[in-house]
């Protein structure tokens, strides 16, 4: 008599950050990421050739520019996505409404995995799960240990640091927006040996200049990118001369895509910020 044997769980199965089980019959080979960080993860694992489409804003790594653009992160063109016949779509759920396109695409029978990493631990978990879905667990392990290696090196060098300087991270100016504790930026600051002026448990926090002055950060970091185009240098702004960081010239302008996007380049952000916060510790034993 034939007993129904339990179906072997697919090897290409994960639980995404919305708690849904994502199961593929075979490794994903035609992938569209609706959020740019996942293109960078795929590229770091040597899978650029599996990226079949991109959103209008995503041009990193440069090799994906030639892929067809299928709309935007929040409003992908479902028709174009279907035309590319992807076997895996990856969405970032930084915003609550990012689920709207997910629902639409799922309704048309497409597989959509949703990730929302806000820390290094979560980025590593995302990389492992992408490794599972693409049938490349070894590549995923390799990438994770390389990223962890960089973080460990920074940590060792910072071991001698006596202080954790206060830092203000400017997401946008003039109506000042800062990174809250529920963001990758916060984890980058922690790993770089600093402490965030903002302790609100949100991703983005609206700030008044008064709050910034009250914190009186030792360092002021301005991100430059789509959210903060051509910001006025802090030294030239009204009220900013009250800040110790501005008076001492400890102001750094950084690339938004490196700092605010949770992906492989987040470790670059840690290295860059650590060098800025603790120059004496980081530079002396650089190769």
């Amino acid at each position: 008599m034939l007993l129904p044997s339990p179906a072997p769980a697919s090897a290409f199965e994960i639980v995404d950050d919305t708690g849904r089980t994502i199961r593929l019959d075979k490794p994903a080979t035609r992938i569209i990421a609706l959020y740019g960080a996942y293109n960078e993860i795929l590229a770091s694992m040597g899978m650029e050739s599996r990226i079949v489409g991109r959103t209008k804003a995503d041009v990193s790594p440069p090799s994906i520019v030639s892929r067809p653009s299928i709309g935007t992160h929040m409003r992908p063109n479902v028709e174009m996505v279907m035309g590319l016949k992807p076997d895996l779509i990856i969405q970032g759920a930084g915003r609550k409404e990012a689920m709207m396109p997910v629902n639409q695409l799922s309704k048309e029978g497409l597989t959509v995995a949703v990730f929302n990493p806000t820390s290094f631990a979560e980025i590593f978990s995302v990389i492992e799960r992408i490794g599972t879905l693409t049938g490349e667990p070894v590549e995923a392990d390799r990438l994770v240990s390389s990223l962890k290696g960089t973080l460990d090196r920074v940590k060792k060098r910072l071991a001698a640091a006596s202080t954790r300087p206060k830092l203000f991270f400017e997401v946008r100016y003039p109506d000042i927006l800062s990174a809250g504790t529920n963001s990758i930026v916060n984890d980058v600051i922690e790993h770089a040996g600093g402490s965030n002026c903002v302790s609100v448990k949100k991703k983005l926090v609206r700030m008044s200049i008064e709050t910034v002055v009250a914190c009186n950060p030792d360092f002021y970091v301005v991100q430059e990118g789509p959210m903060n185009r051509n910001p006025v240098p802090p030294g030239e702004r009204p009220h900013f001369s009250a800040l110790q960081a501005v008076r001492d010239g400890r102001v750094l302008t950084v690339d938004e895509q490196v700092f605010s996007r949770p992906g492989p380049r987040s470790v670059e952000a840690v290295e860059q910020l650590a060098t800025f916060l603790h120059p004496q510790l980081i530079s002396e034993d650089k190769p």
Partner: protein
């Protein structure tokens, strides 16, 4: 004659608009896909993705934009008649801002990703907001059980302005939702499907029936309340019912599409110029012309931008409708004023 022409135009528009899209599908493929979607043929022998794209994505959206155009234009004709104001349109009464507030609140509370009846939660919240705004306006405008057009317009503006302030409050509280709220308020059919059609249809149908029943009284009412009363119309009751009918049309439309301006304002004026102020033909022809206008505005919204991006259709109707309305105004002034 005009009726036959416009009915034909609507049908042709629905089919022709299905040809436009980002995926290249030959005309024959489009027809086969529509036939298969309607269950008229098996649709075999061609890419199954075509059927999904043409029937689920394009056709549902075309039908929805046609319905919204129809209802907004018919509601505009009714509002202009009952309020005796050439500038009245589905927005004057505050219903649209009510819908925008409901939707903004839902987005703010993170309900945008939740599903209800197989679609987002937002249409439901928008509908609730629209109806709440309507009843607030009616309550404000009813003095001694009388509903006067001037008071209605004033109450509508007050409620709309207050709700707009609440929307601004929501936007300032939640930085991450701002772009979603702004985009919703601009009006769009992106991502809408058959379930949105099914959701809005009952309200639209109820509104159309209500206005249709009173189309003769609407003719009398547009002569003015006093004359209508002399001619035996129960002015207050009829006003209230037509108002509710037109508002239901607006609420149904806005709940699934967001705020789409100018259709309800421009189309009835245009039709009135062609056929006169008799409300029965005015309502029907405005509806049909509204449907055709919005179907093609949405095609423009879908295909104008490169790279899969879309314009909100409300932006298209405003860009087309604004200058057009100015011309209309100037032309009619020269021929003896707006009435």
């Amino acid at each position: 004659m005009l009726l036959v022409l416009l009915t034909l135009g609507t049908t042709v528009s629905i089919l022709a608009a299905a040809m436009f899209g980002r995926m290249e599908i030959p005309a024959l493929g489009v027809f086969k896909a529509i036939a298969a979607g309607l269950g008229l043929s098996s649709g075999s022998g061609q890419d199954p993705v075509w059927e999904k794209v043409v029937f689920n994505i394009r056709l549902s959206r075309i039908c929805l934009s046609g319905l919204v155009g129809l209802t907004l234009a018919a509601a505009g004709a009714a509002f202009q008649g009952i309020l005796r104001n050439p500038l009245a349109d589905p927005f004057t009464i505050g219903v649209s801002t009510g819908a925008a507030f409901g939707a903004s609140l839902a987005i703010f509370l993170g309900l945008g990703g939740q599903t209800y009846l197989g679609m987002g939660f937002i249409p439901l919240a928008a509908l609730a907001g629209a109806l709440a705004a309507l009843f607030t306006v009616i309550a404000l405008a009813r003095i001694n059980r009388q509903l006067r057009p001037e008071t209605m317009v004033l109450a509508g503006i007050v409620v709309a302005t207050f709700l707009a302030a609440l929307i601004s409050l929501i936007k300032s509280l939640d930085e991450e939702s701002v772009s979603s709220i702004v985009f919703w308020v601009m009006g769009s059919f992106q991502g809408r499907g058959w379930n949105h059609v099914a959701f809005a249809l009952p309200y639209m149908a109820a509104g159309l029936v209500l206005i249709g029943l009173y189309s003769r009284e609407l003719d009398l009412l547009s002569l003015g309340g006093v004359q209508a009363r002399q001619l035996g119309v129960n002015v207050d009751r009829v006003r209230l019912r037509i108002l509710i009918g037109a508002s239901l049309l607006t609420a149904g439309a806005v709940s699934v599409s967001g705020v789409i301006g100018f259709v309800g304002l421009v189309i009835p004026h245009l039709v009135r110029m062609a056929v006169g102020a008799d409300h029965r033909p005015l309502l029907i022809l405005s509806g049909l012309l509204g449907a055709v206008a919005l179907i093609w505005s949405d095609v423009a919204a879908r295909v104008l931008l490169p790279g899969g991006e879309e314009l909100p259709v409300g932006v298209v109707t405003a860009l087309l409708g604004g200058p057009f309305f100015c011309l209309l105004l100037k032309w009619r002034k020269e021929r003896g004023g707006l009435d």
